[in-house]
Symmetry: C2
Subunit: 444 residues, 2 copies
């Protein structure tokens, strides 16, 4: 016996891949949401530039508009779903929705990475909520876990593979021995990378997601600009082959750590042990580690993009907002903004091991000045080895350091650059200190 | 500026490993829960047989009792945390807590695996809630994900490694080439296995967790008795070595699938591809796959047991219950019991590939009757090979089948048993059809 429930009306702005998946998923399961949860949601109106696209989704007549204001101002709509991405007019959509007392569900990591604190404060002032599960790792339910199931913990680390495009490229470089440019071109052809791949391959997308996740996990405010960022353009087939010989894999990791010296937030290629759980995350899949002082290491794995995986997260958020509304209850406003802002630890203060590949002239005495530059900067080397002659008559020499300070390594590299072209740093990849991720976990 | 919040009083029954972890975690983080979430929880009273144990946790005087009724009937207590395990007096603790209008948090998989439907109905009638995140996979937040973030999906599969003891034993058998009995003895010495290991090694513990997870994921009622169960006692070092040669690992999986022919729920040793994400879950760690029609494959990985990981789940549940109570709001009763009960698909109807190791006399003509038994039962073999002579003068022959029906395989094995001792089925391990886990996922 189902008690009477109210239908919650949803307006979807943006009917592209994720918007289309969202509309279709709600249409497919509307009856089962009523049966299983007593929640009735309906996509009352959709906004797109293209009426034909809306019609494909069954949104015609009053159910279609090409002006987003028709949705944010529609008195019948309870929840606005923003799926257009980018900063504008997404910001205006959020603000206008708040002004009309509507909750917002969004997958917009670019906007939220920069503005999550400000937008949350505005939502709170308007008495409404923002939900953004789909903005961090597509279908992986990590935001919900951080906000609910794991709240008993102090979060120590939130880290992982949160960009599918770069993971796809690195996985294929590894499996097929190809160079970055070749795989990127193929990935673009197959639709795994955008025509303009910058946001993915240079790390912006991962940095945005890390900013949001770190803000939630550590109860502070981290923005995309706080995140140190280095993409994968300089990772070569040689580096990946060298990593394999060292028992490691190269992965673009987003790492957030809540350290006594500040929040350490960075996105860059890393070498990690080949038998680590994250090393087995291949192709376009994503995986996020959350280390809590009580729970220890947890990992969440799944599809980080795609129409239906992302729609799963969007619809999960819609259903959570709708749950009390369908029963005629009110929904609390967005909770109190973060009380304190923790300092950001500069990348210069990172202490880890480094893989450094030098390109140098193939002549006696070429290597010594390079070794000297590192030693004089206080960087101790654990191994030095010739790996291959390059096509251009230059040698490649791989240095592995013992634990060193980033600023000392940077100083040594600058010193080499000043010496002129005889020795060049062809690539520098940090060897991630994953033991540090669990510092502060309670012993059982 | 923190608005005035009410302290929510918690009574903990059972101060063993998990109870102790729960009390200590709340003591450690009470102030930060107030700061970060506006939730104030206090362990007002603890119940144990041993006053000294309670005193170690700071529970003395009125804060200690050796009679659980002092907690279930205490008018000051809002939430009863049952951590004694087993069916009695845990059932009576639940019922008495309900009778006094108290919510219950529990890690008791043995009880909930058998009674979750009945207890949920009683909680609902009393206007209170049961929460049991800690009962399924220790610290892994899978229950919360199924009840919230993933509700947009139709759940197709819930499967994984949910018993740490057996995974520890199989991992060591694999790494060290040891036999079951040797590793079990060592695991008992090290505290990874109980003195009476039955609940773990024979699959009861995993079956209880699977019953709870399947009930939640598939919106039906599955009890431990519905789950087909086979433990790991018959897995030998030879089988694990054979698996390795076939590119597979042996894992004790709990598999729940929502199929058109009914709910397929089973716990047994399986062979899975060595490069599958679950094959890399080693030692006492747990991992649960949830496949939804929209999200596709997701995996949740973490510690399945231990004082603080399990306390993380218990305290997460307490905080969720306390969140509205601290604001002076009411908490809704347990939601409507499952509307429909799906049929259970008998194990006889399983269709998969099988690894069968025969022990047979080392003489000409010994093998043919065995091959014939399988062929006559309609089981097609994809390979037959001699693997090793046993110590007792018997041969070992490994058969791999093509896809076959469980009842045909069972019939062939029964036929061999009737033929007398010349050929014995030394082990039979199902090769899990993991492609079937994703049947019904939406194409992107």
């Amino acid at each position: 016996m189902q008690q009477a429930i109210r239908t919650v009306h949803v307006g979807v702005i943006g009917l592209g891949t994720v918007g289309g998946g969202t509309v279709r998923l709600i249409q497919k399961h509307r009856d089962s949401y009523i049966d299983a949860y007593g929640i009735d949601i309906e996509v009352t109106r959709g906004c797109a530039l293209d009426a034909d696209r809306a019609a494909e989704l069954g949104l015609t007549g009053d159910a279609f508009t090409s002006d987003w204001r028709d949705i944010t101002s529609d008195p019948d709509i309870d929840i606005v779903v923003e799926l257009i991405g980018g900063e504008h007019p997404a910001t205006e959509i959020f603000e206008d929705a708040f002004a009309h007392g509507k909750h917002v569900v969004s997958a917009n990591k670019a906007l939220l990475g920069k503005q999550v604190g400000t937008l949350a404060a505005h939502a709170r002032a308007a008495g409404v909520q923002i939900r953004c599960e789909a903005a961090c790792g597509g279908g992986i339910p990590i935001v919900n876990a951080l906000e609910h199931a794991l709240v008993g913990n102090k979060a120590l680390t939130i880290a992982g593979i949160v960009n599918g495009t770069t993971n796809y490229i690195l996985s294929r470089m590894d499996a097929e021995g190809l160079d970055f440019a070749d795989v990127l071109a193929d990935a673009q052809r197959l639709g795994y990378a955008e025509a303009d791949p910058t946001a993915d391959v240079d790390g912006f997308d991962a940095a945005s997601k890390l900013a949001i996740l770190s803000s939630i996990a550590f109860h502070t405010r981290v923005t995309t600009d706080d995140v140190y960022m280095q993409g994968i353009r300089n990772v070569s087939a040689i580096d990946i082959e060298q990593a394999r010989e060292l028992g490691m894999k190269v992965k673009l990791l987003a790492v957030g750590r809540n350290t006594p010296a500040g929040v350490d937030v960075r996105v860059h290629p890393t070498m990690i042990p080949a038998d680590h759980q994250l090393a087995a995350v291949n192709g376009a899949m994503n995986a996020v580690y959350m280390v809590g002082d009580a729970v220890g290491e947890t990992m969440f794995y799944g599809a980080g993009a795609g129409a239906f995986p992302t729609a799963s997260a969007v619809v999960g958020d819609i259903l959570e907002l709708a749950r009390p509304l369908c029963q005629g209850d009110d929904l609390a406003a967005e909770s109190e903004p973060y009380a304190k802002v923790l300092p950001i630890r500069p990348i210069d203060n990172l202490s880890t091991r480094y893989y450094i590949r030098l390109a140098l002239e193939d002549r006696a005495g070429a290597l010594a000045p390079a070794i000297s530059a590192f030693e004089q900067a206080g960087v101790s080397l654990s191994s030095v080895r010739d790996v291959r002659c390059g096509d251009n008559g230059k040698r490649s020499v791989v240095l592995l350091t013992n634990r060193a300070q980033e600023h000392d390594v940077t100083a040594a590299c600058a010193q080499l650059a000043e010496q002129g072209g005889a020795v060049q740093v062809a690539s520098l990849i940090r060897i991630e200190d994953m033991d540090a991720w669990t510092e502060g976990v309670e012993a059982n």
